[in-house]
Each structure stands twice: as C-alpha cells, then as structure tokens.
C-alpha cells in the first residue's frame, strides 16, 4: 500500500534541512535498549489489489444476511437500510472529520447532531438527548451512573427480563464503580425501592414480551429512584413511548436506525432524559447559539460535564462517541418520517404475529403464550434450542440468539410471507 507522499529526494532534503544524516537520527533520544533491532513479524505489505482479494476471501467465509434469511434478533435486527442513508452519512467531509471542537469548520456535524438530538427527543417523548454513546449496553451503564449521581444512592435494580448482555455490561462496569445489579420484583411483598438509585425495565423485554413498564416506573419514581427504560427505537410508531410510560431516562441500541449489522458494531448508543438530568448527561451535546454577527450556528455545549474540562470529576470518561452512526440515524428517521415509522412498526408486528402462528403450527411452543409482543418472540421445543438453531442455519435460516433456553425469532419489514412460510416449513422438518 502506498501511503505517505514522500519521494526519496524529499526525505533526503528534509533530513538535510534538519541537519540529520539518517532517519535513525530522529530517534536519537530513544534509549538503544528499547529500540527494536529486527523487522516486525507482520507479513510484507501488499498492493491494493492483493489486499482486496484477501479481504474478499475472508468475507466469503461468512454466511451473511444476504445469503441467509435473517430472523435473528437479540439486540441487532435486519431492517432495510435505504440508499440515501449512507450516501449522505458517508459524505467524506463528515466521515473524515474530527470531533467538532473548532465549530466554525464543523457546522455540518454539529447541526446534524443537533437535529439527531431533536429527533431522539421527539421519538422518546423526553426532553434532552446527547450526541450518542457507544451502543445500547454501554448507554445503560451511563444511565445507571446518571441515576446514581442524581439520587446519591447505589442500588441498581432490574425489573423483569433484560438482555443478558446488558446485565453483563452492568456487572463489568459495576466492578469499578462499586455496584452490583440485582433483580427486583415490583409489587411483591417485601420489595423495597427506597434505597434504589434506579429501576431498569426493558420494553419489549429480553424475550420480546411487552410487560408492565408503567407500574414499575410509577413505583420507582414514587420511591425517589430514577426509572430507566431500554427501548426499541423502531417500535415507537406503534408502542407507548418512554415519556408516556413514565421513564426518566431512556436508552436504546440504535443500530436499527439505518446502521448495518456489522457483526455487532459500529452501532449507536442512544440516551435521552428529562431536563432535570441535563447536567448529569454523559458525553457530547450539540447546542444552538449565534456568532458575532448574530447568525445562528452550533457548538458543543455544557462541556463542563466532560472529561477534557473536568478530568476526574467528569460525568463520564467518554470522548469519541458514535457520531457518524447518529448522523445515519437522523437521515434514516427523516427518510422514514412519522407515517413511515408507524407503517414500519405495524409491518414488523404483523409479520411477527404471523410468524409466531406458523411456527407454533410447525411444532414450536411460545415461551410466553399469553403475553403480547412486538417484533420478536421466544419459542421452545422438546429439544435444545441451540440444536434447532444450528440445524436451521444449515438450510439457510438465521434465527436466535438462545436466551434462557428459548430461541428468539425476530421479524423486520424485510421478511416476506414467503420467508416466514419457508422458515415454518424448515422448522417442521427439523422437529419431525
């Protein structure tokens, strides 16, 4: 790969200008004991053509979602990404820019983030959003930190079933921060919320079920704890919003908003809250202001929360976030529009309902037969769910993950009746 532009003459003349005789002289202050005396054991460089061939060979050994029919879920979903999203978010002035610390040359990114924040507020029914976090799981960790700071309390309670990856992330970060997430049964005898920093509910939950988030949030808020919801952004055309359910802080995995599956990243951590917590928000926030001529413009604002100003007293250590994914999410949401959001939610719900019926006919059992769901549901069999999943992928159907022994199946707007009938037929054969 050719990378730096220097000719041999350039190198020699620049060294001459510095009064040096060789490139080694540039490292004269580096003690000889730590200098590497051998070439790196990394294969020799390749031409772009050879590199692309190598990457193509690796890519060809992945059975991806264009090759399989994708009913997989568990936090990442095969929604359609319209052409306009990455045609715009991929614009190189956006993609190759740094964090917008010099606002005069960063108005594009800053305005795009301001619009992203606005749309997240509209979507969630909450009042303030930041400019993005790493992903859904780390957004939950940040929400818990906000709740702990806001309440001065340490207990972190989880009501109902949440994605196990979120629990694992909480446990990891809790090791440094000094908390351990605990399950709680809202309304059960002996349940005490008075010393809780927060109550976390995933809605739809870790098995896709629509539980009673409203009551859990009401109980949490009554006890002075923050109500934290993990939501699905693409459910919000049809399902009650975090604001309507009474959440104080809402977090989500934003991959579904115009971002590709990417084997788990880069994704988008969404966080929104009520104004009461604005100064406890982690990470960057874009704000509107005006320039010296009175023209409108955008800057990063409320920076006294952040690590580059407050150092160890910052609300979070986050610096680089997922700005480009947030921009893609904005293009996607504006592409969808309010009516598109409703239609998309209705399509997912209808297809999931149809799929559940067909899979039950094929011999699956619904893990939660009496509970409503949105686009994802859990099924069990007379044999291990992992075995069913591994057999289905052999015949071209990607399902899962398996959570608590149940197989998750998700339907996006991409899945057709024919896809679903095909999955049911394949399942029938597996179970026969």
């Amino acid at each position: 790969m050719r990378f730096s532009p220097h000719t041999e003459d350039d190198v020699r003349e620049m060294l001459d200008a510095l009064g040096l005789s060789s490139l080694d002289d540039l490292y004269a202050q580096v003690p000889a004991e730590v200098q590497l005396e051998r070439p790196l054991d990394v294969p020799p460089g390749r031409s772009e053509l050879e590199l692309v061939e190598d990457l193509k060979r690796l890519a060809a050994r992945n059975r991806h979602a264009d090759e399989l029919v994708c009913f997989a879920g568990g936090g990442a979903y095969d929604h359609y990404v319209p052409a306009v999203v990455w045609a715009m978010a991929g614009r190189s002035e956006l993609q190759t820019s740094y964090t917008p610390y010099q606002p005069e040359l960063s108005q594009g990114v800053l305005q795009a983030l301001f619009e992203y924040q606005s749309m997240i507020c509209d979507l969630t029914g909450l009042e303030v959003s930041n400019a993005s976090l790493y992903d859904g799981a780390t957004a939950l960790v940040e929400a818990v930190n906000m709740a702990r700071a806001a309440t001065g309390r340490d207990r972190v309670l989880i009501a109902g079933r949440i994605d196990p990856r979120y629990v694992e992330a909480l446990e990891t970060y809790g090791k440094g921060l000094g908390f351990m997430p605990e399950p709680v049964e809202i309304g059960a005898k002996g349940t005490k919320l008075e010393d809780a920093a927060c109550v976390i509910v995933q809605y739809p939950d870790g098995h896709g079920v629509l539980g009673d988030a409203r009551s859990a949030f009401a109980a949490a808020r009554k006890a002075g704890a923050r109500a934290i919801e993990i939501f699905d952004p693409l459910s919000l055309g049809v399902l009650a919003s975090p604001g309507e359910l009474g959440a104080d802080i809402a977090v989500a995995e934003g991959q579904v908003l115009g971002n590709h599956l990417n084997y788990g990243g880069p994704y988008l951590g969404i966080i929104a809250a009520r104004t009461q917590d604005i100064r406890r928000m982690p990470g960057r926030i874009a704000g509107e202001t005006s320039d010296v001529d009175g023209n409108p413009g955008y800057v990063l604002t409320l920076q006294t929360r952040e690590q580059h100003i407050r150092r160890e007293k910052a609300t979070s250590n986050i610096c680089t976030n997922q700005t480009l994914m947030a921009i893609a999410a904005s293009v996607y949401l504006a592409w969808l529009g309010p009516q598109g959001l409703v239609e998309l939610g209705e399509a997912c719900a209808a297809k999931a309902r149809y799929a559940a019926e067909r899979l039950v006919e094929a011999g699956a059992r619904l893990a939660h037969p009496d509970e409503p769901f949105f686009k994802e549901f859990a099924i069990t069999f007379d044999r291990p769910a992992e075995q069913v999943r591994d057999t289905l992928i052999e015949v071209g159907y990607l399902v899962g993950p398996v959570v608590d022994g149940a197989l998750l199946v998700a339907c996006t707007e991409r899945r057709t009746r024919e896809d679903i009938d095909g999955l049911a037929e394949a399942l029938g054969e597996v179970l026969a």
Binding site: L94, Y134, K175, R311, A350, P401
Partner: protein, 492 residues
C-alpha cells in the same frame, strides 16, 4: 467558500441554513415500504402509543440537498490539511471503506453461530496477532469501542490482576500533561488519581514519581511519546520504579503512531496497551466516532481480558470463547466496533511490517521538519527534539494582544483546519501541531509559511484586528459558547 467581502457564499443555498424542521411539510415523505402481505396485528390498547411522534416530513430530494449542504459546511481530512495535535488526523485510505462495506462483513449478524462467521473470526485473529507483535504483548481484546473505553478496560484489568492476588490498591498515577480521559477513566475504575508533575525537560519528574509511588499504587498510565510530543527517555527507570512496588504500567496508545516498528511498549516494560485505531491505523474518525480501542496485554494479564475472546481450535476453526472464569466481563454489547476493525486490518496488512515502520518514521520526520520552519516565531515549549508532533507557544504574540485562539481562527481564513490550542494544559498559549505522515513537503512548507505570516500580522495594528475578527471566511464566525451553555438550546 467565501467572496472577497468575507461573507459566506450561498451557491445552491439561496435561503441560507435551515434545519430539517424548517424543511418539513405535512404529508411529504421519502420512504416507501412493501404492501403488507400478512394480516395486520392489533397492538393491545395499553401498549399503544397515544400520540404519533413528530418527525420531519421531507422528500428524499430535500434530504439529499440538506445533508450535502451540511457536508459542505464541514471540514474533513479529505478537504485538506488537518494538523490537529494529539489527534493524528491522517489520510484515511479508501480501500478500507470498500473492505468494511463488503456484505460478508457489513451484513453479518452478531448472534451468528461461530461456524457461519469463520472469515470474521479469522480476520480478528490475524489482526490480534499483528497488534500483539506491534506492541510486544501476548493477547488482545477488540471490545472497547474507543480509546477511553480501552482505558477503562485496561484499568479494570489492572484491578482484577491485583485483586486476584488479594491486593487492594487505591491510586493510579498519571502525568500532569495527560489527556482528560485518563483521570476520568481512573475514577470510573474506582481508583483515585495521583498526578505526577513534568520536569523542566517536559518528561516525567523521576524524583517526584519515586516519592509518589508506594504499594498503594495500582499502576501508572502514560503515553510515550508523551503528550508534549517528547520521548520519555527514562522509561526503563520508570518501569523499574513501578514494578518494584508491584504496580503495573499502562501504555496509552494515543501516540503509538510515532514508534510503530521502532519501539514496542512491551519492550519498554508496559503491561497493558490500548490503541486508537483512527490515530495509528487511519480509520476515519466520523466527526467524533466511531473509533475502536483494542487493548493488548502481557501474558500474566490475559486471563482477565473481557469475554468472549477469539480462539483457534486444534483443527483450525475459530470460535468465541466465553469460558473465561477470571474475565472482567463484557465491556461492549457485542464484539466491539467490528466495521472499524476491518478498516484497521486493511491498513495493517496493506502496509505490512516494513510499511508500518516507514509510516512512523515519516510522521516524525514531518513533525520535526515543520517545527524547524516555525520555531523561531513560535518557540517550542520544551527543548527536546519532538517526535510525531510538537508543542509550540504563541506567548511571544501576547504582547500584541494576540492569543493562541486568534492564531487558530486566523488559520481558518488562510484555508487550514487549525492546530490544537491550549492543550496540554501545562503549556501557556499552547499550539499543538501534528502534521502526520500523509502530508507532503509542499503542504508543510505552505502551512509553515502561513503560520509565520500570522506572526507577522500580529505585529501590525491592521493585522491584529484581522486576527481578532477571524474567521471571516468560514460558514459562521466566532460563536457565542457562553450563551450556548447559559441558555442551553439542545433540540428544536
């Protein structure tokens, strides 16, 4: 971008900047979805949204001109020289984008069984081997989504290591020149910050370090070259001081680019390393992310790495190993920013061992060359030879009422993205310049001449007013940040 009066030109933008909300018209839309091919499902009343959310209603054509305009109001590496010190804004090779968008990578679901993702796992496996070789480490994790996440991961590894030995330690040492994420990460990992001062050389003050360090110290976090762009010559002595009390050495990879192929953190005594893929491996920074912050460690820390890790079985198959009893756990929802790692792979294996070494050398050459062009008017903050970046001071201009910020804003009018200013915090009127290896000598000469012309301007009254008014040619002029913070307007 401007006409001679300095007012932003509005070609294609006659009405001036608008938001998506301004463009929205009821009933307009860009999306179309397939007709529903199954029966509609009823959502139970109590779960239904009461009020349809407001979102912009625009045609695709509106969207495209809107975001094209936003892009035009933004400056990226592709636009031009980006000498932002400490940020390593090097050119991002396009082949890496092509690689990341191959359907075999971009359309791969994170919950796929390992048997159906062998290419992705092999890519991570090879990249891990290469990064361990570059850093002199044994194993690595790819979960951290950015440098700061890598820092926290490294500190949690440090904590797990000490705790495993029944050792409770409370403090982590960082230099006073450190990036703000270091102290913030230290606190998130449950440690207290102990700050070690820099000495007259701009290096860690060894005697102060010795006084600070005891068996309550879990470790030291530093960059080398350090945040002043100088190589910590006493690194082996620093490592001895830390290891003598059982503390660990953490290498913040912010400045790794300068020494790739020449010096390995592992050979300097470091136990834990994080890398910033955008700085060292030219992955695009995305206007603030996504990044990726892989963390590599010495063998004795490998059992604690986040799980899962990529393993290769005896028959050559790759798998994600969750059976890691001493692991600190999960630091990311899935496998980290895989799409960014594909780009890093393209960079590392495109360059190869020799190419990577050459990159570092040219980064150092460029920084030294540019420093030599400007240091008479913008003196270096410390006497040592810089590595991949240099810290100058605009202090000589202060007598003319000109500040480092004015210099930065004037550079905008001269066609450049400004260098970093007021960082590191310990340098008065700091101008931190990092040209990177991807810039030609002509670019460096022109930028050096521009900086010198600013120093000339600062000496004249007319020039001073230009400096104070700058920028005049950017899409906006200086913005009122105080107002933005006092009356936050963070949504429409």
């Amino acid at each position: 971008m401007s006409d001679h009066t300095g007012a932003p030109v509005r070609v294609g933008d006659p009405e001036g900047p608008r938001t998506l909300k301004d463009l929205s018209r009821a009933g307009r839309r860009a999306s179309s979805l397939p007709a529903l091919d199954v029966e509609a499902a009823e959502i139970p009343e109590k779960h239904r949204r009461a009020e349809r959310p407001w979102l912009p209603e625009v045609a695709e054509r509106d969207l495209v001109s809107h975001y094209t305009r936003l892009a035009q109001r933004n400056y990226g590496v592709d636009t031009g020289f980006y000498p932002l010190g400490s940020c390593s804004m090097k050119y991002n090779p396009k082949v890496a984008d092509v690689a990341a968008s191959m359907p075999g990578f971009a359309r791969l679901h994170p919950h796929q069984p390992d048997s159906s993702a062998q290419g992705a796992l092999e890519l991570l496996w090879r990249l891990e081997k290469a990064l361990c070789e570059l850093t002199g480490m044994a194993r690595a994790t790819f979960q951290p989504a950015a440098g700061a996440s890598g820092e926290l991961t490294g500190l949690l590894l440090m904590r797990a290591f000490h705790e495993r030995q029944g050792d409770v330690r409370r403090r982590v040492v960082i230099p006073d020149s450190a990036h703000g994420t270091n102290p913030a990460s230290v606190r998130l990992a449950g440690y207290e910050v102990a700050e070690v001062p820099s000495d007259a050389r701009g290096l860690v003050d060894l005697s102060a370090l010795e006084k600070l360090v005891d068996e309550d110290v879990a470790g030291l976090m530093i960059t080398n070259p350090n945040t002043l762009g100088l190589f910590e010559e006493d690194i082996l002595e620093i490592a001895r001081i830390m290891h003598d009390v059982g503390a660990l050495l953490y290498y913040d990879g912010a400045n790794l680019n300068a020494i790739v192929g020449r010096v390995r953190p592992g050979d300097m005594g470091f136990d834990i390393v994080h890398m910033n893929t955008h700085k060292t491996f030219a992955t695009p920074h995305g206007g603030g992310g996504p990044g990726a912050g892989p963390v590599a460690v010495k063998g004795r820390l490998a059992p604690f790495l986040p799980k899962p890790v990529v393993q290769r079985s005896d028959d050559g198959r790759f798998y994600l190993d969750d059976d890691r009893p001493h692991s600190i756990g999960r630091i990311h929802g899935f496998n980290g920013n895989f799409g960014v790692l594909v780009r890093a792979y393209a960079y590392v294996f495109g360059h190869g061992g020799d190419g990577l070494r050459e990159v570092g050398e040219r980064a150092v050459l460029n920084a030294n060359y540019l420093a030599s062009r400007v240091k008479e008017r913008f003196p270096l903050a410390y006497p040592g030879s810089p590595m991949h970046e240099f810290v100058s001071t605009a202090r000589p201009l202060k007598k003319h009422g000109v500040r480092a910020m004015d210099v930065a804003k004037r550079l905008i009018d001269l066609g450049y993205y400004p260098s970093t200013v007021y960082f590191p915090l310990i340098v008065e009127e700091a101008l931190m310049v990092e040209p990177t290896e991807t810039e030609s000598r002509e670019t460096l000469d022109a930028f050096g001449a521009a900086l010198l012309s600013v120093a000339d301007e600062a000496a004249t009254e007319e020039g001073q007013s230009r400096l104070h008014e700058a920028p005049l040619t950017a899409p906006v002029r200086r913005l009122d940040e105080a107002k933005a913070a006092r009356q936050p307007k963070v949504r429409w």
